[in-house]
């Protein structure tokens, strides 16, 4: 009988980035104030263009939970035509080319537009994920937030890596 000391395998690679993004998106929901018309009914978090990763994490962790009295519903949009009525819309990096097309819809719907793109803020996003050092952080465009009629909590601005006023 041998004393086996087989080296353990690393756990199957966990998509840590998507976990962090989903958690950020949830905290955004708690630190942004929507106009009166969006404070009843379901709280819709939409993910555009990604059927795994962030959508999976959001769906797994938050479907059925609530923001205030609003029940969270997580939706996956596969085309720009499907996007409507979301409180938060996360646009995956591979779909960032559509940002300019989406902006007008999201302004009309008071949607918090979250991207992860080069120059995301200048392309109309309210919040854009960036990497600083080895960490995922975010930047905010307050002008865009105003256009979307969204009130950003001071804490969210204070902890941002960059704020465009």
């Amino acid at each position: 009988m041998g004393l086996r000391s087989n080296a353990p395998s690393p756990s199957q690679m966990t998509d840590t980035r998507s976990v962090v993004r989903a958690l950020y998106i949830y905290t955004f929901a708690t630190l942004v104030e929507w106009p009166q018309g969006k404070r009843s009914g379901e709280f819709v978090i939409g993910v555009f263009g990604e059927t795994s990763g962030v959508y999976t994490e959001l769906n797994k962790k938050y479907s059925g939970k609530s923001i205030g009295s609003q029940k969270i519903v997580v939706k996956n949009y596969k085309s720009t035509k499907e996007i409507n009525e979301a409180h938060i819309l996360y646009v995956s990096p591979e779909n960032s080319n559509y940002l300019k097309t989406i902006v007008q819809t999201t302004i009309k719907e008071n949607t918090l537009l979250v991207s992860e793109a080069q120059s995301g803020l200048s392309r109309g996003s309210v919040i854009n994920f960036i990497v600083e050092g080895n960490q995922q952080k975010y930047e905010i465009n307050k002008t865009s937030a105003k256009k979307h009629k969204l009130v950003i909590a001071e804490k969210l601005s204070n902890l941002a890596a960059n704020v465009v006023k």
Binding site: M1, L3, R4, S5, A7, P8, P10, M13, V19, Q135
Partner: protein
């Protein structure tokens, strides 16, 4: 590292110059040959209370008999066996039996080692295992050879105990994981102190820190605060960074080890370092592509496998035509 198989080839060779026929030692020997160790024990204990105690062979036989008693407190009897061999050696002023007695001592002491192995692998009693292993090493040095080099054996044992702690991590609740990981690191560091180029120890430490990094992120409560999320990201980053030197050393020691590449891939992914993440992801994909393609042939409706192939052809082994093909397949699977 293996149990040391002790095959008892002991035959008490009572020398011709002595007549033990009517002696306690002789009786004990007869009982021993008949495998009646209890009676043998009574007789040999009488022998050491007689003049026979001045004969080295009497003490040798006593050691052998006590070592063979299989009922009661084994450790206690083993200690008596060792004491007897030590006295046998001491009495043997001419050194006639030294080699033989050392062999008896070695074969008795190895039982502590084998106990350590059994306690570790079968009983999962790590503390007692280490106690037993320490006795084995200490007594071997004291009684057999003070200069014996245990380095290789220590490396093997510490690696084994470290790996066992790691295995246990998977089956305990989150709160206890850190304690076990700490122990796994402790033992792997003991190995590294003996041999900084030991693959297993370096790899194991790397894996522990990698898993800690992952846990700092995945165990965050869903309804967390922004501050907590930022804090945990920092902790996660620190753990991934700690993993890197150990994993890179393991990589140098075994350049083709796919588990090391996978762990490095996970660390760089967690550290948001795309350049290095993709380097290791590519190595990983090169290794696994055949499997993904075979899987697609046998299970064309496996949507996760199609996603992997799309990712491979889009990100690492870039092939626009193939990527488009799998994109279409994925679309069809998602929209039946």
């Amino acid at each position: 590292m293996k149990l040391i198989r002790y095959i008892s080839i002991f035959v008490v060779m009572l020398t011709a110059s002595h007549s033990f026929a009517q002696s306690w030692t002789g009786q004990a020997y007869d009982f021993y040959k008949a495998k009646d160790y209890e009676q043998a024990r009574v007789a040999i204990d009488s022998a050491i209370n007689s003049v026979e105690r001045f004969d080295s062979q009497t003490w040798q036989l006593r050691g052998i008999i006590y070592r063979n008693i299989s009922s009661g407190d084994q450790i206690y009897y083993r200690e008596i066996a060792l004491e007897s061999f030590v006295l046998a050696k001491k009495i043997d002023s001419t050194g006639l039996y030294t080699a033989k007695i050392n062999e008896y001592l070695r074969n008795t002491l190895v039982r502590y080692y084998n106990d350590a192995v059994t306690l570790l692998l079968e009983d999962g009693d790590f503390e007692k295992s280490e106690e037993s292993y320490d006795i084995y090493v200490r007594q071997h040095k004291k009684l057999v050879d003070p200069n014996h080099d245990f380095r290789a054996q220590n490396i093997s044992y510490y690696n084994a105990i470290g790996a066992e702690y790691l295995k246990k991590v998977d089956v305990v609740e989150t709160k206890k994981k850190n304690e076990l990981r700490k122990k796994a690191i402790e033992y792997s560091l003991k190995v590294i102190a003996l041999d900084s180029l030991d693959f297993k120890a370096n790899f194991n430490i790397g894996i522990v820190y990698y898993n800690i990094g992952v846990d700092h992120v995945t165990t965050i409560e869903p309804e967390t605060t922004l501050e907590q999320l930022i804090l945990n990201q920092k902790k996660s980053e620190a753990a991934f960074l700690k993993a890197l030197p150990y994993l890179h050393r393991a990589e140098l020691l075994d350049t083709n080890n796919i588990a090391v590449a996978e762990a490095l891939m996970g660390c760089y992914y967690g550290l948001n370092n795309n350049e290095l993440y993709l380097k290791y992801q590519k190595m990983f994909d090169l290794r696994n592509l055949r499997g993904y393609l075979d899987r697609h042939t046998t299970h064309p409706d496996d949507i996760e496998n199609v996603r992997q192939l799309l990712r491979v052809y889009t990100q690492t082994l870039i092939d626009i035509e193939k990527a488009e093909n799998f994109k279409k397949i994925l679309y069809d699977l998602e929209n039946p």
